[in-house]
Symmetry: C2
């Protein structure tokens, strides 16, 4: 292989082809996110119903539990099929070791579901443990979505994935709020601890939805603003968080119904986000394909019919303005230079934009890591780990991210002493 | 596909396999760097000889030029073959669009060499232009090395690549110093501008070698420190940069010989760095392969012979301490959890380390981008672009990186107005 216009073009097209390939994987990632969204939704419902079942003393909700289990199975099957497909493409995904590691965590967590369900039905598991188990599974599923946002190589799609991930995370806190509130309404008592927990879940929801609003497009942001105001639910929230008013007899069911209505509405928006994500990916693929074809046509119209016979002297002699021997087809050299520079500049601009996005993600990533380090080290739940970090931050008048990076900086000490 | 221990293991192994695949690509990248190092060295020699030829008035160095051209061809062939091989693996490299874009720039620049040589021999090109042409080709080759350091997914290897890239960049400034000095000694006059240029090249070399020393292992850092002191060459440098002493008749040849000796010694160290890089990659591949095999053996010893018949209830029931139904083979569940967590923690630690490295690289990347923006926009050389950025930084009492990011922030204005 020699260095001439043909080989330059070959590598230019290779660069384009890689972009196209990575967009196609992104499309698969988008499909994965849609399927995760569906499974998470069903797990949230099963968690809610399981909580109601564990709270009830007269064996209510047993039938609903079976229904929820079936819904989860229905949502899990297409996700597993998609993961299976992904694994078959492993040779084409050398950068995916973290992705598959997350998948292993997800699959492991899902494999524990049957045992969990058995113990819930036998009532051999207490409610907080059952709930924390469901939370764990969903947390692993959401980590997978975050990993996909983190590795997306297209800024517009990465932004949309961040919006979607934040929304899913917010919805999950709404789900935890529903479950926590339902249990407390059912028990007819709101302890100080429960109230703190609810307030924290509301606050975390709001943060997630704020991030969502930062990254979402106008259409979805507007739709969210319109649906976010729900005075009926806010009234019940106030009752739950202050405990000052008398509980009405049917509060538990009303809370669950209203919270479910709210979460289902979120799911509708989430579905719209998933569809937009796919449409984004498909549009980018189509645009890249078209640009590639146009470029190919441009190149063909420039290429001399007998390029191999021609010496590269003449072809390139005018490529730099100051190489002035006056070649046969100077426009090819100049056009090639323009194409090479365009591609390089375009990729650099994408990279700069991605680097800025990654900085945004990095903060969350560090907090997540510090949290899971604490969870593993002290065998506590995600929520307790978050509360610990926040307390440390407040006591030292520091930001959460500062505490998290400090913790990561001394990670070795933590991990060598389990 | 259902979520059980087998599928968990399957994705765990997939994660490991991806790591192995990405290390194998890194090994190919290492080979590429070795070949680039060789080609750059030969281009530096051809640049030096071309300068001597253009300076000489009695047609000296014409034979050497032919020799140099042959050396470049010999170094170029294996590089092109390696690039060819890389392009054939395009389906397995979805993240490589930037890499191939850099390759296209390199190949384009190399394709201009024949025309350049013709004009040098015909003396239709002035020396600064010829030199700037060679500088450009080498700059593109070094960008390719930088891109490989930037995308290496293994921190230890990434660090070594950064050390090596910095060394190669330092050596390139040494090469430019040789060429600039040779031309001035040959002309018998050191203008203020030439002296400034030499001082700037010395300063930039020292910065590069400082970065090299930061990232290199002890052995290579020590070797560099031992060879860096060369009083003979320093004496000639002083003459060149101050111009206070009389020039001796053979100064030009002595300068060229001493500078060449120095650069050839650098090349020896660079070769050692390239070999260490390959050894690093191979050792990491072997270690990962061994770890994979050991993990596989562990898993096999844990797996029940009739796993498919067994329900996942029993297998996983004790996986979380609090799921206490007491399964048949609780140790598999627990061991699997440990394996899944280990892999996830290990990858997270790698990612945190890589993020820190990327921050280091990011600064250089932004400065490079601002520079090439200036070069394209104002049609100036790399050196002039660097000087412009530095002058702006000094005038505003700011850091180079601050000016560079300010420039990138307003890039659109620059690029829409060429």
């Amino acid at each position: 292989m020699i260095a001439n216009s043909s080989t330059t073009i070959r590598f230019l097209l290779a660069s384009r082809q890689c972009e196209l390939n990575s967009l196609r994987y992104l499309l698969q990632g988008g499909e994965l996110v849609g399927k995760i969204s569906q499974l998470v939704h069903m797990l949230q419902r099963e968690r809610g119903t399981s909580n109601m079942f564990l709270c009830s003393t007269r064996g209510q909700f047993a039938d609903e539990l079976i229904l929820r289990e079936q819904e989860v199975a229905q949502a899990q099957a297409p996700l597993m099929a998609q993961l299976d497909m992904l694994e078959r493409q492993i040779a084409a995904l050398p950068q995916a070791s973290r992705l598959f590691s997350h998948v292993a965590s997800v699959v492991y967590a899902l494999s524990l579901l049957p045992a969990l369900r058995q113990q819930i039905r036998q009532r051999t598991l207490r409610l907080p443990q059952a709930m924390s188990f469901f939370n764990d599974i969903i947390r692993h599923l959401l980590s997978l979505v975050f990993e996909l946002s983190d590795t997306a190589a297209e800024p517009a799609i990465s932004r949309h994935l961040i919006a979607m991930f934040s929304f899913m995370q917010g919805k999950e806190y709404a789900g935890q709020e529903r479950a926590t509130g339902a249990a407390a309404f059912a028990a007819g008592t709101f302890s100080e601890e429960t109230q703190q927990k609810l307030l924290s879940l509301i606050e975390r929801q709001e943060r997630c939805f704020a991030t969502f609003a930062d990254f979402a497009d106008d259409e979805h942001r507007l739709r969210w603003q319109q649906m976010a105001a729900d005075s009926q639910f806010e009234r019940l929230r106030r009752i739950a968080c202050t405990g000052r008013e008398l509980y009405e007899a049917d509060s538990c069911l009303r809370w669950f119904a209203l919270a479910t209505q709210r979460i289902d509405a979120m799911k509708t928006l989430e579905d719209a986000l998933a569809q937009t994500l796919m449409a984004h990916c498909q549009a980018r693929i189509a645009a890249t394909e078209q640009a590639n074809n146009e470029q190919l046509a441009d190149i063909e119209s420039l290429m001399p019919a007998h390029e191999n016979e021609e010496s590269s002297y003449s072809v390139f002699s005018d490529a730099h303005g100051w190489l002035e021997s006056g070649g046969v087809r100077p426009q090819l050299g100049r056009s090639l230079l323009v194409l090479v520079q365009q591609q390089s500049r375009r990729l650099q601009a994408l990279d700069t934009e991605l680097a800025a996005l990654r900085e945004t993600l990095n903060e969350r990533k560090q907090i997540e890591r510090a949290k899971s380090m604490l969870m593993q080290h002290r065998q506590i739940s995600e929520e307790e780990a978050y509360k610990t970090l926040r307390r440390m931050a407040m006591n030292q008048n520091k930001k959460l991210i500062e505490i998290a990076s400090a913790m990561l900086a001394v990670a070795d000490v933590f991990q060598s002493n389990p």
